[in-house]
Point group: C2
Chain length 201, copies 2
């Protein structure tokens, strides 16, 4: 025996969520069907509209339903410093740590030749064009302190070197092998203050 | 800073899922928006149709999109034995354990006067009507071995007593593969009282 086809299909599709195995998917499906159909309907509506309308900010590529995101629109941010991050979650972590008042650029990943992820896939043509516009004096390469994040930072540094912009990297207050998203605010803010010139050797 | 309104709304609505806190909701929202929009759309469709079409089996009250569920429809089940369970998940667990060939009745909960959950809310009028039809010789009261499950079983037993049907309850005992040291006293003492002749074949 199993559940009816529509319930089995629901359980199967819940497994698209990270960390959700068969048992958790069953518990979630039963909870929604047995105890919280209104909550389930709100989830359908919210996910549907988010998938439909959330895209990339035209300027910094973060996730947003607007053409240009709030930070890019803000008149109170410093155009001279641009922080390059791998993901919107990393960007949020830096914002929540506080202290940084510049702009962002979001890669949505890192270079990964084995997975066929090259420079255009992480928006580096757009990043170069943006630097070429002028006005950016320093780029903080805040990619993750992982092998791939390091490699991506080095690649970007090499690409942008001709443009004569100053490059820095977060200080190693951030734990090696970790992901920015999960670093506490204090560590992150200290790492920002201790950022170092990036040589991209 | 926070994410854009539609992303915040998505994260909020994901928290309707059991065991999902703010950090997990963020991880799920980012995963769906950044890496698996197709999976997200499948989830929207599956949840939408399940909420729309999955209801209660007219005969046993289990969750199904059919008028009458597969087990109730099956000609190969024994009408003489009816197993009463609290939830479709309990029913599935019994089916997966194997061996039981009778029919089911699903309460969708247990009596809970403090929460205003009375006999009609768990379908006891329907259960009585079903027994009155005749044909059921034994009812297995497979409610949970909890205070509420016990109370519910006792209430049902009292209600059905006049109909002269035989009532049974799942055996209590030490769980297979468990260690006595970790079995609570109540369970252990019941297991002692319910001890069986040992043949040691
Ligand atoms: Zn932006
Ligand atoms: Zn049924």
């Amino acid at each position: 025996m199993s559940f009816s086809p529509l319930i089995e299909r629901l359980m199967e599709s819940l497994r698209v969520l990270p960390g959700v195995g068969p048992k958790t998917a069953q518990r979630m499906a039963m909870h929604l069907l047995e105890r919280d159909r209104d909550g389930g309907r709100r989830l359908v509506a919210a996910l549907d509209v988010a998938l439909e309308r959330v895209g990339y900010c035209r300027r910094c590529r973060t996730l947003t339903e607007e053409e240009v995101c709030g930070i890019c629109q803000s008149a109170r941010r410093d155009d001279a410093v641009l922080c390059v991050v791998e993901s919107p979650a990393d960007q949020l972590a830096i914002e929540e740590a506080g202290g940084f008042r510049g702009r962002y650029f979001v890669l949505h990943g890192h270079l990964s030749p084995l997975d066929g992820i090259g420079p255009e896939d992480i928006g580096l043509d757009q990043l170069e064009a943006r630097i070429a516009e002028g006005g950016v004096e320093e780029i903080v390469l805040a990619t993750n302190p992982t092998v791939e994040g390091e490699a991506t930072a080095h690649y970007i540094a090499a690409q942008l070197a001709p443009q004569g912009v100053s490059l820095s990297r977060l200080a190693y207050g951030v734990p090696m092998g970790g992901e920015l998203e999960y670093v506490d605010g204090g560590t992150l803010s200290r790492a920002f203050n201790g950022r170092l010139p990036f040589r991209g050797e």
